[in-house]
Symmetry: D2
């Protein structure tokens, strides 16, 4: 594969650059007969959209999606779904000064030595803007999985910079700009205001969950469900760490504790995070990701230019001081895409999921 | 893909079960002209081999590899390399009692509901024994990468159970059964002896490194180098967490700290772990993985059988009390396979790596 | 793969329906640094365009291509190239009457039973209109191959209906609507006029050629160059037969005749059509394809509707009476895409083609 | 893909050389629960086996297959099926004289310039011996398809050299060494005897058929069923031409004739060969392939050596004077593999084939 297609049976082929004419994707392999409108997709795009609070980039992009193909009379036909999002708020002049130098922490240096040429405007292809088509495709996967199995996806922030965020309720997540599962986010607002003022940036930790999972998704040995989740999450811009279930915490656990015991009423715990041996158990998928601080910061940094000479770089333009803030809907989409792909792969080899198996309930998450 | 092939251009197709007649793999896409003998591969297999100390499974497997194809007069021909390892020490009777019940923490339950049938002997396909062909394939990748770029791979244990392991020197790693980078491992010996006596198990944390990396490996957006590393590592049996560079630690870092600044003498730090924007920078790859405690333990556990009835399971047979102990050579092999695949992918699109670029030295690791 | 992506390293992911808002494709894996403008692509699209003579469909489509990504300052960047062609001349009302019945020789019946839903307007996804993005992608491949190796592609018609077409010169091909390699095409004009008047259609045979081929393209055993050419050509709408080199004629040849002997001056003949053992020899690729008569004809045909009841179908609308007439530029594009993909695959495994090998000239074609 | 894996969901990864220690394959993606023994596979291998009549190579190979994995207690488990066939009758000395020169019509020249190294013994990787694992894998596909849909595969010879072979009955095919559908094959025996005596070789034409086909197999646009059949067949050693249904004959047909009309009782004809728009109609698949004369002949041929100097080559050793004779079981296997792969792909996207659709009977073949 050439590097811009996600998935094997439910594939998303992504194109575009931050400041080119348009971005978009082609979704291939979608089952026919799924009711689908642009609004189904737009809803998730709006959750990811920039410019919605003072804590994120002030770029104003409506991110209006157009369905170019694959849907006829409001229903998917089984043929590829082309999605197009025009770029409307490019301010390329902001980038003239960094075209010949490498911003620390950015992909500039690696792109330059890989391709010998790069589009410097807004990070070009390495911009987080390219997650929009991923979110759009994820919305299609979510809709099918919800209808087929009742599977649902959600994500929330569990840490911002040095500040851990407790868990009160999923109900709070849609009501604050941090996707935080708590009612009171004043401390985080203050933290972000101070950070922005200092010209610096911070990281974040995100929890992602799938509920209503079918049993048996995942391929043996190499293409395990957990492996593909790790692939998806680590591929998200700025992610540097991924955990499933007990994650790094499992290192210090004993086998007697970690292994989730079973009873006729279901699993007694979910240290596994819903996956053993690479295959889903039907328990909730529990994933946690660590996101590094934004690399585009106002503070001047030591660097070099394309000739190897010393220079100093400070990134102007409009940037998220914490890219993790908008990561929740993207991480949800990625998890949905992985589950969708494995649902189709399972069906190919083993036939439709059989709900005649004893529906052992999952442990309370 | 059907789930048992690793890689896209340098592919490893793995087959076999723990207690079947044989295990092995087919390596496809290997460049022609590489000198290769069975001994090149055997050396790494021997490092992974069971039965080498009292801290690992007592199964006695010589793991003798036979090259079936792809090598002529000691040189690879560019055609597929078939590798075969016969199973010789199967004691299937140990597993009769668990054929109808699900061992907590094991893949039994998920396999059963996925396939409706499973080979229960020694975990069948989900056995860690299936990492042997991975290690064998990794040896081929390592040899080519070393010859071509000077790239080398190594791994060491950094935590066992609750005990952190400091870093003294890579030189200690080959000289103790823990792959620990320290001279004195008495504390870990004692810890493992007590653990084994208690019929329990523990996890481990492993650091994996590649040095002498070429710049520019990795594909944009989806098939990033870091994503593929996460995929490879999370797919290793018992792994529940993966970090690259600063990993989860980067969440609490500021952008001014995390972004590795550049100077004409090279990068000033390596928080990125050798990858930005999904593409290698030429710095060392730094990866860390968290491994859960072994699920096969003597202590009896609550479970159910295939009819959903309560039962109790305690796993007899020969098992590693800490599967992480033998994980170092496997993790090395997986990292080598990922780098190899990306080296060929890079070459396909961009041509051979050009060493005319200014060889900016990496920061000291 | 999900069915709408062509190639493995130089991939073309196609989307769109005949009467939807737009058609297009995403080209992934294109080497960076290739000068590319919309005009480079438009030239080939114009050769395939409908409405250019009275012998082809009267649909008026400018087929104006827009490059959405992957090109910066006139040069490819190595990131995916998104191409968009808006549909402008849809007359969907022509298709209302056939939405519930199956046109003989068309994909209607198979689509209906595969997907349970179909877009009947203009054949929807199965329309030959979807070859436009293929031609666009082929133009990019052609440009790179010409620049890199001097490889060039051309095609001409060698039979129309019952009428064989002799070979005079490639120079005549661009100067008549039949892509015929002869100066005088009056007989074919008359033949087509009579055919159109009778409300019937006919087939065609096309010869496709690549010159300036590198030696060594093709993968062993399964992914041979000839196999991939056959795949590409048989996948073109209405194609029912493919030959390479001597083709079916080789059945009655003797081994002493067929096997192309070699001399220090080059091959003595080219019965192989430029490929032995699935790998290119450096001789010209010679391919011939057979195209069935157009299925959309005015003459009424016996058929059934979606309820299995008898009905009669006659296809109104604007159709090519011989789809083979416009097939030449499409077949060229497909051959270029196959060669391009294999050029990159070869480079991945074996490194850049080495022109230090004795350049044995091909036999005169 | 790296060139030695066939299929996308039901994959066959082939390894081995004619005169290496062993050949074999790994079948991945096989549905679980299929009863399977080595004897199921051996039966088809025996039909393809050399040394069964004086008209084929005298190499004596039992081609005994060993199942290494993927089957437990006589039933497939859904994990990869490893198959091994040891080479037992290698006479490598026959090939010493051709190691440094290129046999006309053979892959020698192309392999040499592709890889820079080759295993000359028995054609190495390019030997027709490598079709044995393909046949073995095909046997597994056949068994599943027969059990699932009642689909069956058969092939017969329709022309040998200049001699056309009429069609009397499929019942004759197993009873003569030519796989000919006629009772009296004396003329062909005489023809072959004379040919062998003259030190020359000839080609053959083979018809391949699938009956009991499900409707709806095939992917739109690029991965059509017909395209994949063409790929499979053209990839078979020595094949130079492929037709589906009316094939090249359709060029001279009119649309009123070619398009198979439908009635409530089924299709009226099968010019399409069971596929329209790349998707199966449920009619019989009808495929025809043209096979070139064997390149390994006793008659001396003009050639060059690896240094480009003139030489003369005559191939000693044991060779089929008409490789087409043993092609029938191989072509069957390839067709089965394609149908199997598409059956799984269809199921992935659209769910299990629904037999509630009106089962329109196919026209009599």
């Amino acid at each position: 594969m050439s590097g811009n297609t996600f998935g094997t049976l439910f594939t998303v082929t992504n194109f575009g650059e931050s400041h080119g004419p348009a971005i978009g994707c082609v979704i291939d392999g979608c089952p026919p007969g799924l009711p689908l409108t642009a609004q189904d997709i737009q809803a998730d795009l709006d959750r990811r959209r920039p410019g919605t609070s003072r804590h994120v980039t002030q770029r104003q992009e409506p991110d209006q999606v157009e369905i170019l193909s694959g849907v006829y009379e409001g229903v998917t036909t089984g043929t590829p779904i082309g999605l197009l999002i025009r770029n409307t708020d490019q301010r390329s002049k902001d980038y003239a000064n960094i075209a010949q130098s490498f911003r620390p922490g950015h992909a500039d240096y690696a792109y330059w030595y890989k391709y010998g040429v790069r589009d410097p405007r807004g990070g070009g292809r390495s911009s987080a803007r390219l997650t929009a088509p991923t979110v759009a495709a994820g919305a299609v996967a979510k809709k099918w999985l919800k209808q087929k199995f009742g599977t649902e996806f959600r994500a929330c922030m569990t840490q911002i910079g040095e500040l851990p965020i407790g868990f009160e309720s999923w109900a709070h997540v849609p009501h604050n700009p941090f996707f935080a599962p708590v009612a009171d986010v004043q401390a985080f607002e203050d933290y972000m205001d101070a950070l922005r003022k200092s010209g610096d940036s911070c990281g974040a930790r995100i929890r992602v969950q799938a509920t209503g999972m079918p049993v048996g998704l995942g391929q043996p040995l190499y293409d395990r469900l957990d492996a593909d989740i790790a692939y998806a999450m680590m591929g998200l811009n700025a992610v540097k760490a991924v955990e499933i279930g007990a994650g790094f915490g499992s290192v210090a656990q004993r086998g007697t504790t970690h292994g989730d015991s079973l009873s006729p009423e279901g699993f007694r715990s979910n240290h596994a995070g819903g996956i053993v041996g690479g295959i889903s158990t039907g328990q909730d998928l529990e994933v946690s990701i660590g996101i590094k601080p934004t690399s585009s910061i106002l503070s001047p940094r030591e660097s070099i230019d394309v000739h190897g000479h010393s220079t100093e770089v400070s990134t102007k333009g409009r940037h998220d001081p914490c890219v993790g803030i908008r990561a929740a809907p993207i991480a949800e989409a990625l998890l949905a895409l992985v589950v969708m792909d494995h649902a189709l792969r399972h069906r190919a080899q083993c036939g439709d999921v059989q709900w005649t198996v004893p529906p052992i309930p999952a442990a309370a998450p």
